[in-house]
């Protein structure tokens, strides 16, 4: 007993001394030390994988910047001898899409018009659902949540025909708002799941404090919940944007020629059977279709910061 106590006491006495030097020395003991040779092998393997993943992008970029003749002459891997932006210009504004030579521009616009409201509305509604399901619980709320989750698991193909009938009935068939509606219906399941799980960790006492302070349902949502939802909102936006932007099936099924999204137009560009296949234009168009999702990752990823909640409760 006596020895125990003294050991404890001495440990307590040593502790502050150990912690005194900056954290670097403390952490370094946990890093696995490797020899020079092993390190080189590790870097080699990593470099190889980088190359492997970047190769397709390289091919797309270089071939979108060279004249068609250079591609058809072979040498997909080579850098352009004649650097040119004309494939990009063509893909954007003059290429033949289906029956009209409009380029991808109007369809890019369609996609933007579809994806922005769909992402915004599904995120806000998901946040609202999560808020209600965690902070204003009601009888049977777990059932409601379970049914909402179902939306995440139903295969897209299963709803095509009923959805087409629905859109026809409400007069949204073949329109951009119709596509927005379809993506909303599918998106809310996921966004609800995200926000519910996030708000589950959100201290309920904050909501109660706001209630006593006189804030109502929507004020609490707007002034207390939403400002603290940064990280999950970013996750939700990235997820929804990527999914909706890249969707092909709904776009192909529920749009008319003038409401087609980018993905469908890109397909029409590549598949168009008249004339020669302009591979350089196809590559340029494909990059264009991928750019917005890339941009969302780069921009939103920066705000993907955790710890916004620190300090609301005992820390």
């Amino acid at each position: 007993m006596a020895t125990d106590l003294s050991a404890e006491a001495s440990a307590a006495a040593i502790k502050p001394v150990r912690q005194a030097p900056p954290s670097g020395s403390h952490g370094s003991s946990q890093v696995i030390r490797t020899g020079g040779a092993a390190r080189i092998v590790i870097y080699l393997i990593l470099a190889l994988f980088c190359l492997y993943y970047l190769l397709p992008l390289y091919i797309m970029v270089v071939n979108s910047l060279k004249p068609l003749s250079e591609i058809t002459a072979g040498g997909m891997m080579a850098l352009p001898r004649d650097w040119t932006l004309s494939p990009w210009a063509s893909a954007w504004s003059t290429a033949q899409i289906g029956v009209a030579a409009t380029g991808l521009r109007p369809f890019f616009l369609n996609s933007i018009l579809m994806v922005v409201p769909a992402v915004a509305i599904s995120t806000v509604l998901g946040a609202m659902n999560g808020y209600v399901l965690t902070k204003w619980r009601f009888r049977g709320d777990t059932w409601v949540f379970g049914l909402l989750l179902f939306a995440c698991f139903i295969p897209f193909q299963m709803v095509l025909i009923p959805m087409a009938r629905m859109l026809g009935l409400v007069g949204l068939a073949g329109t951009v708002p119709g596509l927005i509606f379809v993506h909303l219906v599918y998106g809310i399941g996921f966004s609800t799941l995200y926000f519910r799980n996030y708000y589950q960790q959100f201290p309920t006492e904050l909501v109660r404090a706001a209630q006593i302070d006189g804030a109502g349902f929507f004020t609490i949502f707007r002034r207390i919940m939403l400002p603290s939802s940064g990280p999950i909102a970013v996750v939700c936006v990235i997820w929804q944007f990527t999914n909706i932007w890249n969707d092909f099936l709904f776009g192909a099924s529920f749009s008319d020629f003038d409401s087609q999204p980018m993905t469908v137009a890109l397909n029409n560009l590549v598949q168009s059977s008249t004339g020669v296949k302009e591979y350089n234009v196809h590559f340029a168009g494909a990059i264009m279709a991928a750019l917005p999702t890339l941009l969302v990752y780069i921009v939103a990823g920066r705000y993907f910061v955790r710890g916004l909640m620190a300090g609301s409760v005992k820390g």
């Binding site: 201290p203 006492e205 904050l206 109660r208 404090a209 706001a210 209630q211 006593i212 302070d213 006189g214 804030a215 004020t219 002034r223 207390i224 400002p227 603290s228 916004l308 909640m309 620190a310 300090g311 609301s312 409760v313 005992k314 820390g315």
Partner: protein, 369 residues
């Protein structure tokens, strides 16, 4: 009728009754502490006063106005939460002003009120900070500021000190007491810490199992606990409870209790009315300070009785030495002066102040006298 009236209020979740019929009435400016172990219903009762939980049956009224169906925001109450519940996205000034803003108070008035409260709580220099940048004690002050600024009829405190470390807790306790003396506001305060209850309150409701066991001033609760639960829960170390039998010797009522190798006879103070109950089994209750060394005994008491008992363990605590011995088959603790030379194994004279003795019925656990 008082300032805050709880009339036969109950709370049930389905078939589970968490709060049985409760009647409490306090006057304006009183400091009511609801104290009890976890799950006794004290927080539920506080939330019912706040309007965060609905009342199943009965009624709660503030200033004579029934609060049934009145939303929390319209009850003119303010609450300090255990976790402080500061809004993480707002700075301290915004946190404090939020309630005023929600009640439509114009900005210049809000700023003035915030400045006043910040002055009172000495948090002026923190007004621009976010809650995440504050220490525990500072957050506690901000949480109180948020309640104070509203100038409510009733303040509700839900275990506000339990997240602080021991030293800070004592400081904040004093501060809350000072604040109450200065502002004379009506406070309902929930805690499981009996010392907080005794030091802060003007009245205490001791709760257990969804029942109010006793409602009274700290002195009543401490000196004349209504039953064995209250006796054991309030006070530290808790009250000594050991079985004894009432007898009458030379016309005077005494309590007889077993000790190792014999029996002790403890004459009751006169006029307690035990003479008529000779032969009755009781549980005798004595606070540790009523069991002490000969010189430490209360000189004004007319019923100090000295008995010789073997000492089991001594626990020097600096200001006092706690001495354990066996009486009536139970371990009892006496509070001796620190400089008394008493050792384990010794047979030592214990001075028992029988003026302070209370007796309980062993079956109902209620106090007899």
């Amino acid at each position: 009728m008082g300032f805050l009236d709880i009339n036969r209020a109950t709370k049930s979740y389905g078939a589970v009754k968490v709060l049985h019929e409760t009647d409490i009435s306090i006057d304006e400016g009183e400091f009511l502490v609801l104290v009890g172990p976890s799950g006794c219903g004290k927080s539920t009762l506080l939330n019912m006063i706040a309007g965060l939980e609905e009342i199943t049956t009965g009624d709660i009224a503030i200033k004579g106005r029934s609060m049934n169906g009145v939303r929390p925001a319209e009850r003119n109450i303010a609450m300090v939460f255990q976790s402080y519940a500061l809004y993480p996205n707002m700075n301290v000034a915004q946190n404090i002003a939020f309630g005023l803003e929600m009640h439509g108070v114009p900005k210049p008035e809000r700023d003035k009120a915030v400045a006043q409260v910040a002055e009172l709580l000495q948090i002026n220099h923190l007004l621009d900070r976010k809650p995440g940048q504050l220490s525990g004690g500072q957050r506690q002050r901000v949480a109180m500021g948020r309640a104070l600024v509203r100038d409510p009829d009733v303040f509700l405190f839900d275990e506000p000190l339990s997240n602080l470390d021991a030293k800070l807790r004592v400081d904040m306790r004093t501060e809350i007491k000072k604040l109450h003396q200065k502002l004379r506001t009506t406070i309902v305060y929930v805690t499981h810490d009996q010392i907080e209850a005794l030091t802060l309150s003007t009245r205490i409701a001791v709760m257990f199992g969804g029942h109010v066991q006793q409602l009274g001033t700290p002195k009543e609760i401490y000196d004349r606990p209504a039953n064995m639960f209250v006796a054991g829960f309030m006070g530290s170390p808790s009250m000594n409870l050991f079985p004894a039998t009432i007898a009458v010797e030379n016309g005077r009522a005494v309590a007889k209790a077993r000790k190792s190798g014999g029996e002790v006879t403890l004459p009751f103070a006169e006029g307690r009315g035990f003479e008529a109950q000779a032969g009755r089994e009781i549980v005798l209750g004595l606070r540790p300070e009523a069991i002490t060394d000969r010189d430490g005994a209360d000189h004004r008491s007319r019923a100090v009785h000295v008995i010789e008992v073997p000492v089991e363990i001594t626990e020097p605590a600096g200001s006092d030495t706690f001495v354990m011995a066996h009486l009536g088959g139970k371990e009892v603790t006496g509070r001796f002066r620190a400089d008394v030379d008493v050792r384990p194994g010794q047979v030592f004279p214990f001075a028992i102040n029988m003026e302070k003795a209370v007796a309980f019925d062993p079956r109902t656990e209620a106090r007899i006298a």
